[in-house]
């Protein structure tokens, strides 16, 4: 770590908090009731997390001060908000359930009557921001001084008085992290994140386990306690969604003795995400060990203790992994344009909390320093919660979500004793490993630098291609980095020492639209501009409707009335009157009117629905439930799911299907199973016909989207992380061929050559959508690395590469006026649609495939709108749908008015 971060070694100031309440004894009939006047502030911690601070204390802590009162007492809280967000003091289950918000800088008071014995959460009620640390416990005890009984080693339920308690442990379960405070003799000591709890054998320990946010189950090995209010003995307790609390007493080691007893959440995904700690039962004087602290060894941290950086998982474009102090980091004088980068010292931890999202996610490492322990970090299935991991090995770690594989967060674990930030493991020549099985990749290699560029572009809207501005700038931080030495990538190494990342900057590159295609298309092109933000919504995303007659933006549909969230992919019913829209970071399928963009229905369909298509046979709707394990079916004309077809046999790892396709006869559904790395072919009756791995035995292929021949004879599946296209038999699912889309690229040198000998230098880095043209001639692959690759289905070889923009993503075919087909291609990190003509001269030979033109996706003066765009105009292009749908099987069902604009060949693409 370099001199900029020398603030890392201020000595630890031991933090103990003594809670002193101003207690006013009331006279008369309420002789024994007390009024507690508590003065709190809400503070921002060095790592950007938020916390309550008790007046008079040096520091805020997570959890906030534990408030102990007796039944019948009342609590008056005076709260001053020193954070940048509105905060409150809400105690779910007690008193006011919609307490007023305190604006930044303001002070307000809150009153709570402790009428019922029990344990309660108080929290900031700050629209998810409370999960960053604005929570604490209110414990309402009995007036007689007794607390929860414990189960003794002989089974006796043993009464406990306050005076018997040796230690209280407050444990908050938030995201997938434990936040703890230890209370001995009234002294509250913050133990921060995932500490080691300690107690001497036979000590009477009272636990207060609480949660805010998604549900958990708390389990402590080898100990038993009472379910509150009953004589029922349990060892695991559900804390439900929202806010929940559970207090119990144990005698440490009763019947089991000393040991390092694990405590953890028992949700598998949360366990995998790091939600565990140790309860050390030892001899006299056994004490707790503090966990990772927001004040610790991180960039600009103050204390010389293990530190903690925190990312909020968000639905907001570019900020999917947003550092809790993202705004502050962007404001540092290092030209950092991303909020998704953090820097910390070895031995510190990274914390993730899904506090700003309606979807399910995973927190999975994409790359890490060679030799780093506990890698890859991953979870079996997508979930709600968070994650925490301690990182000891210096180097760059990039986290992603397997379900939404362009969500990126990066952490540089930097050895403070070297000059420049370490991008790889110093002990392994600064090399990195990738989740796809590549190990020992020099950080100076072209591939590593490309991945780095991808990260800084994807997570920084300032680095996106805005065609309205006509220039393109890409700014990298001015931070010096250490990477693998010569001979590669001289620019970054400057002879092998270190150089600022900003040496990669792109300055004022001209950016101009090509112009509209000369020949009109038929109908409309609907594009999910998934990142575009509007005034009337907290969630991003619009549908941009382009009129293919004149290539103008006809309509923008934001649907503020339902806060439409990340619209991702669409299809349309038979008569082309109802458009089906998935919300990929949410749980909904939306139905809207094609002719005016008005909402028909917003339907709960399951976690993180990705793609939608109809069955051409009966117009039923199929929806890939990407965050879960099946394909949902809504019968035509209905608004409710009739069943979910499982994509795997019971008990097996969730397939998490993404961009499925349906066979032309409507009999089978083909899914790319991102989580299990295979292509599944399923009957609409729910039968699993075949499942075929696409990774050729290497991990992490990540099949993401399907295209099918018009006669369903072949399936094409793009494997995002292997940069390959799998070709499968459409009947049996047998793998016919794997086309390497980066054969012509040298990952170390970055040199391009016709290595696969097909006469073209063509690469497709990070391929996504791969539809087959309705006439079955061509596969068009949109590759997020910025290329469009065209495959000839007669030979299954690459015939062409066309330029695309960063984040090139969606592709779908529509009819070209007068015959032929256009492939409409969308881009996440630019705001234009590219129109590809696969056979401009119409001779049936696709060798002349080329770009016909492009269309800016920004609203114009004549664009109909239902909300006002306020940022990221036209960005986030993902799902594309041309209306009318002209794929074989669907085109035959079009009403005559839609058929009118089509040629005979287009009306019957393979039968004429």
């Amino acid at each position: 770590m370099n001199k900029y971060f020398s603030g890392l070694s201020i000595p630890l100031t031991k933090m103990t908090v003594l809670i002193l309440f101003t207690v006013t004894m009331l006279a008369s009939s309420m002789a024994f009731a007390a009024v507690h006047n508590i003065t709190l502030t809400a503070e921002t911690l060095p790592n950007g997390q938020l916390a309550y601070k008790l007046s008079g204390e040096a520091r805020a802590a997570i959890p906030g001060p534990t408030l102990f009162v007796k039944q019948g007492d009342s609590v008056n809280v005076t709260l001053t908000n020193n954070t940048a967000v509105p905060v409150s003091f809400k105690v779910p289950g007690v008193g006011e359930q919609n307490p007023a918000m305190t604006a930044p800088g303001a002070t307000a008071t809150y009153a709570v009557d402790a009428t019922t014995v029990g344990s309660y959460v108080y929290h900031g009620n700050s629209n998810g921001k409370e999960l960053l640390g604005l929570f604490g416990a209110l414990i309402v005890d009995k007036t007689d001084g007794s607390v929860e009984r414990y189960v003794n080693d002989n089974g006796a339920l043993t009464a406990v008085a306050q005076a018997d308690i040796d230690k209280q442990l407050v444990l908050f379960m938030v995201g997938s992290t434990f936040w703890a405070t230890e209370i001995v003799d009234g002294i509250q000591k913050p133990l921060w994140a995932n500490p080691i709890l300690g107690a001497a054998e036979d000590e009477i320990v009272r636990f207060h386990v609480l949660s805010v946010g998604p549900a958990h189950t708390f389990h402590l090995h080898a100990h038993r306690w009472l379910k509150p209010g009953t004589d029922s003995v349990i060892d695991t307790k559900l804390l439900v969604d929202g806010a929940d609390a559970h207090s119990f007493t144990i005698k440490a080691g009763a019947g089991v003795g000393k040991g390092d007893w694990q405590f953890h959440c028992h949700l598998i995904s949360h366990m995998e995400a790091g939600m565990h700690g140790s309860f050390k039962v030892g001899g006299a004087g056994t004490s707790s060990t503090v966990g990772a602290s927001p004040y610790g060894r991180i960039l600009l941290g103050t204390d010389d203790v293990p530190g903690l950086v925190t990312f909020e998982i968000s639905d907001e474009g570019a900020s999917w992994f947003r550092s809790a102090r993202g705004d502050a980091i962007v404001g540092l004088p290092y030209d950092i344009k991303t909020k998704s980068l953090e820097v910390m010292a070895p031995g510190s931890s990274v914390n993730f909390v899904m506090s700003d999202t309606n979807g399910v996610h995973t927190i999975s490492t994409l790359l890490w320093p060679t030799g780093a322990h506990h890698m890859p970090f991953d979870q079996t299935s997508a979930y709600r919660g968070g994650g925490i991991i301690k990182l000891d090995t210096p180097g760059l770690y990039v986290f992603t979500c397997k379900v939404h594989p362009y969500m990126f967060g990066a952490v540089i674990v930097d050895d403070p004793n070297t000059v420049g930030l370490d991008l790889g493991n110093p002990e392994k020549e600064y090399k990195i490993d990738l989740v796809t099985g590549i190990s020992g990749l020099p950080t100076s290699s072209d591939l590593a630098v490309r991945l780095l560029r991808t990260f800084f572009v994807a997570t920084s809207p300032d680095n996106w291609q805005d065609y309205s501005s006509q220039i393109w700038n890409v700014k990298f931080p001015t931070l010096p980095v250490r990477i693998s030495g010569a001979p590669f990538s001289e620019e970054l190494t400057q002879g092998g020492v270190s150089a600022p990342l900003s040496i990669l900057n792109v300055n004022d590159a001209p950016l101009a639209l090509l112009g509209k295609p000369a020949v009109p298309g038929v109908g409309e092109v609907w594009i999910n501009t998934q990142f575009e933000k509007t005034d009337g919504k907290t969630k991003p995303g619009t549908i941009t409707v382009v009129d293919a007659k004149n290539w103008t933006v006809k309509r923008k549909i934001a649907l503020p009335e339902i806060n439409m969230n990340n619209p991702h992919n669409m299809w349309v019913n038979r008569d082309q009157s109802v458009v089906y829209q998935t919300q990929w970071f949410d749980t909904k399928l939306t139905m809207l009117k094609r002719n005016n963009g008005q909402l028909i229905k917003n339907i709960h369909v399951g976690d993180t629905p990705s793609h939608v298509m109809t069955l051409p046979s009966n117009d039923d709707i199929t929806i890939a439930i990407n965050g879960e394990n099946g394909v949902a079916l809504i019968p035509a004309g209905k608004f409710e799911i009739s069943k979910i077809l499982p994509t795997q046999a019971a008990g097996h790892t969730s397939a998490n299907p993404h961009g499925h396709w349906v066979s032309a006869d409507g009999k089978s559904i083909v899914t790319p199973n991102i989580n299990t790395g295979d292509i599944g072919i399923y009957g609409v009756d729910g039968k699993i016909h075949s499942r075929t791995s696409t990774g050729n035995n290497a991990p992490g292929a990540h099949p993401i989207a399907i295209g099918m021949m018009p006669d369903s004879s072949k399936v094409y599946a793009a494997n995002l992380l292997h940069h390959t296209l799998s070709v499968l038999n459409g009947d049996t699912g047998a793998l016919i061929k794997t086309i390497n889309l980066i054969a012509d690229y040298h990952p170390i040198t970055g040199a391009f050559a016709d290595n696969d000998g097909n006469g073209e230098i063509a690469v497709g880095v990070l391929p996504i959508q791969s539809p087959v043209s309705p006439d079955g001639k061509a596969v068009v692959i949109a590759s997020t690395g910025g290329q469009i690759v065209i495959i000839d289905t007669a030979t299954d070889t690459i015939v062409k590469m066309l330029p695309c923009d960063p984040g090139c993503h969606g592709a779908n075919f529509g009819a070209k006026k007068g015959g032929g087909y256009y492939a409409y291609v969308s881009n996440k990190f630019s705001n234009r649609m590219i129109v590809v003509d696969i056979d401009p001269n119409g001779d049936g030979n696709i060798a002349d495939a080329g770009i016909a033109g492009d269309v800016a996706l920004v609203a114009g003066n004549n664009t109909a709108i239902d909300d006002t765009v306020n940022s990221l105009p036209g960005f986030g292009g993902q799902g594309v749908l041309a209306i009318p749908v002209v794929y074989n099987g669907w085109v035959q069902n079009l009403p005559s008015k839609w058929k009118k604009g089509l040629t005979d060949a287009q009306k019957n693409p393979i039968g004429h």
Binding site: N154, G155, D260, N629, A649, A650, G651, S654
Partner: protein, 335 residues
């Protein structure tokens, strides 16, 4: 072994012959009462004596079960042998590795010595999967020392406590000692904690349950054990006659004789939170007198209830996705 012949006088259900506490019908009421109380006193002393509690010697193994036909595998426990005070009751279990794993019936006061073997291919041949190829048995509810935690050394700081290749230690088999102490009555899960990761493979088939009854507990005509996972119920039923464990598998249809008392044992596993419902029935929420007709249950919680089987019913998980995926089964009541 002489002591153990006294074992039936404790009146516990593990005796294969539990009629030993019946008395002659010819005795007078007074005499009967006197003898009863004397016997009760004697039984009390006999039963609290540790050496008289039942000793279970159990050997289980873990196997790979080829389940879906497309190369994706689940694992399962198989009972190799189970003796109770020397009496072999292995015939009660399936001959195969099953999901769910064997249900172990225990009584407060018993001790268990359970040895786990690992027949998952490669596990004993030095092949390390993930960080560990070990299979372990981590049990909930009962007492055990830290050496019987069934976890990896990275957690317990003592030993890799499973069978197979572990990151710190490799064992051909591993034995656990459980003290089924007073106060541990209830239904508890056991599961693997070591396979591939330090979290184990409890979500890949390696789970089962122990049912700890208090001394002298009532008998139920049928015991229905149901595990709520992220996409299905896995279950089994046990008839009190013969105690044979049957119907292993997904969303089983249970059968009960009309008006018989049956007991449901619910245990959740995985990541989902469930809402269990048995249509048309109500039962007492454990530890309370509250009658309920559905219950929220999260991973590794347990919920045990009894009903009188009066009518056919459907049991289901009301969780949105799970129900639509068919997470339902039947209770069929026969005459």
């Amino acid at each position: 072994m002489l002591f153990q012949s006294n074992r039936p006088y404790c009146g516990m259900e593990f005796s294969e012959n539990s009629s030993a506490t019946q008395y002659t019908p010819h005795a007078t009421l007074l005499r009967q009462l006197l003898i009863s109380s004397l016997m009760a006193l004697a039984m009390f002393f006999l039963c609290v004596g540790k050496s008289l509690a039942a000793e279970h010697i159990i050997q289980m193994t873990a196997e790979e079960v080829h389940e879906d036909g497309f190369g994706s595998k689940l694992m399962a426990y198989k009972m190799l042998s189970h003796t109770v005070n020397g009496t072999n009751i292995t015939h009660r279990y399936s001959n195969h590795a099953t999901i769910p794993g064997p249900t172990l019936f225990l009584t407060e006061g018993d001790t268990v010595n359970l040895t786990i073997y690992n027949d998952i291919p490669g596990a004993n041949a030095g092949v390390l999967k993930g960080i560990s190829s070990q299979v372990s048995v981590h049990v909930h509810g009962v007492h055990y020392k830290i050496v019987s935690d069934g976890t990896l050394k990275v957690i317990n700081q003592e030993d890799d406590q499973g069978a197979g290749v572990g990151p710190a230690q490799t064992h051909a088999n591993y034995s656990y000692t459980w003290d089924v102490a007073p106060g541990t009555a209830g239904t508890w899960a056991y599961h693997d904690h070591n396979y591939e990761t330090h979290n184990g493979a409890e979500h890949k088939g390696l789970f089962g349950a122990i049912i700890v009854n208090p001394v002298g507990a009532a008998n139920y005509a049928k015991e229905f054990v149901l595990y709520l996972t992220d996409d299905a119920f896995w279950g089994m039923e046990i008839d009190s006659h013969g105690m044979k464990q049957k119907k292993h598998g997904i969303n089983p249809d249970f059968i009960a004789r009309k008006d018989s008392e049956v007991r449901f044992h619910l245990i959740a596993l995985g990541t989902d939170i469930h809402k269990f419902k048995l249509s048309g029935y109500q039962w007492a929420d454990p530890g309370t007198n509250n009658m309920i007709n559905e219950v929220a249950i999260g991973p590794l919680e347990k919920h045990v209830f009894t009903v009188k089987a009066t009518k056919n019913a459907q049991y289901s998980d009301e969780n949105f996705t799970n129900k639509l995926m068919g997470m339902v089964g039947k209770l069929k009541v026969s005459h």
